[in-house]
């Protein structure tokens, strides 16, 4: 056999199965090897690399203007945040001041893509547990956001909008009007999300007390983002290490203490509203001025090491650049949020039934290309 050459039953009588790499509920090509006793999970071992595209190696041969572009294919639902991290690390090394207009536009677009990313989580969480309708509800709003992205950035999904020093192009004339329409549409429909999926008794029973991650484990496993915040760990980079003017903005870091799948759902639902709240503060106050700071045509970073982290929709993304003074990175490492969050799955799914593993995977909300890079 190609996958799992060993006999299905091992000496202890445990049944070993593979979930993935092609499996409709793994959101990509994650392969989990699961040891079962009857239907109870004894052990889970993740096998990765089915979409390992050698992004870190490629970055070593790209210039500092180019290397960010490939990151929008990493976590494609947080493409803006990934590009922003790459732009910020170059700005930090060159000590470039980003114009205020560019900062505000960056935050608006980042929060918009955080909203759209959480909507996709909502869609697929419903789908994984057998509810098809939430999928259509969430994609209605995603489609509206995507068309704004297309008008502003020229691409629906892999936007590549943030460049070192600012943003690549100015806004379209009716940007503000369209954003307001989308926010209104989202807020009018928000109660529907609660009614159709979150308030559903079956959904709640599948989620409550399943896959409990304690605060200590979240720290030890390096979990970040909504996964860690549902376990009571305050880890929002926007609050702790603010960048691009997040320190001037009013918003709450959503922290719950349940630690189970249900808490992770609630955190994401609340974060959607926080994103809307952030955009509403900024949308009428976009300052006039330049959109990009002047940088040299060929960017050369000073010799040294630079680390920059941003909060993507899934947690803390770190970009670690080692520069030898040349025009390309000597070493480029992405500390991806999904890679650390993945480690929670083997830990918290032990002792649960195999059906609950799907619910746990749905709430951890992994993007596999970001794990494999």
């Amino acid at each position: 056999m190609l996958l799992g050459e060993e006999d299905h039953f091992n000496e202890e009588g445990e049944f070993v199965i593979n979930i993935g790499p092609q499996h409709p509920s793994t959101h990509g090509v994650l392969r989990l090897k699961v040891w079962l006793d009857g239907e109870t999970i004894k052990k889970v071992e993740p096998h990765l690399g089915y979409i390992h595209r050698s992004i870190e190696k490629m970055s070593e041969s790209f210039s500092y203007r180019q290397f960010g572009y490939i990151t929008s294919r990493m976590d494609y639902l947080s493409a803006h945040m990934n590009n922003q991290a790459c732009a910020l690390v170059v700005e930090k090394a060159l000590q470039v001041e980003v114009p205020a207009r560019a900062q505000v536009i960056r935050i608006i677009l980042c929060e918009l893509s955080r909203l759209s990313s959480h909507l996709l989580w909502f869609a697929s969480a419903g789908l994984d547990l057998g509810g098809v309708t939430p999928f259509f509800y969430a994609f209605r709003e995603r489609e509206a956001i995507n068309s704004i992205m297309e008008e502003t950035c020229g691409a629906r999904l892999t936007q590549n909008f943030m460049v070192p020093g600012g943003i690549i192009t100015d806004l379209q004339p009716d940007f503000q009007k369209r954003i307001k329409e989308v926010l209104k549409q989202f807020k009018d429909n928000y109660h529907e999300y609660n009614e159709i999926l979150i308030g559903n008794v079956i959904f709640q029973n599948r989620m409550k007390d399943v896959g409990v991650l304690t605060r200590e484990d979240a720290i030890a496993l390096g979990c970040t983002g909504p996964v860690a915040r549902a376990s009571g760990l305050s880890c929002d980079i926007r609050k702790h290490y603010p960048y691009d003017g997040y320190e001037k903005i009013q918003f709450d870091e959503v922290i719950l203490t349940g630690g189970d799948s249900w808490a992770r759902c609630e955190v994401r639902m609340a974060e959607m509203l926080q994103s809307v709240h952030i955009i509403e503060q900024l949308i009428d106050n976009i300052p006039e001025g330049d959109i990009v700071a002047k940088t040299k045509n060929v960017i050369k970073l000073p010799k040294g090491e630079f680390y920059q982290r941003v909060e993507t929709a899934r947690g803390e993304l770190g970009v670690y650049i080692v520069s030898d003074g040349g025009s390309t990175p000597y070493r480029c490492k992405y500390r991806s949020p999904n890679f650390s969050n993945l480690m929670a799955i083997p830990h918290i799914s032990k002792g649960h039934k195999i059906g609950d593993l799907i619910a746990i995977m749905a709430t951890i909300d992994l993007i596999i290309p970001d794990i494999d890079r």
């Binding site: 041969s61 070493r331 500390r335 480690m343």
Partner: protein, 159 residues
Amino acid sequence: MCEIHKLKMTNEELKNSFAQIFPAVTFDETGEFLTAFIPSEALLPVMKELRSKKELYFDYLFCLTCVDWKDHLMMVYFLNSKTHNHTIVVKAKITDTINPKIESVYDIWKTAELNEDEIFDLFGVNFLNHPNLRRIFLEDDWVGYPLRKNYVDEHMIEL
């Protein structure tokens, strides 16, 4: 939440506490974080102290990677304390590039498990006492370690 920043140590205090654990340490303060250089043999006892000492309490390993400097490999550990909110970078130099090996820190931080697998896969560093060292990204029969600077792949098309 509010008391996080109260116990935060300055770089000077961090240096003093670190020197108490391991006197032969050297520091570099040019970067964003305080960087401490230790030899790879001393890694495990030093890391254990960093994790358990009350005033340091580095409980969060947020980035673990390796850099190939051609004549040596440099392990880089980014440590943060979630209680005190101070950050330090610990670097351990591995001089043997043919057969590099270092102690695993899995017992101290569980997040190291897959991160060390990744470094084994892409740099070929052997982690001693690692629970399950394997190639996670590439096939088991892959030859060479792609992120090493001397890696050659005749199928690769250079830009």
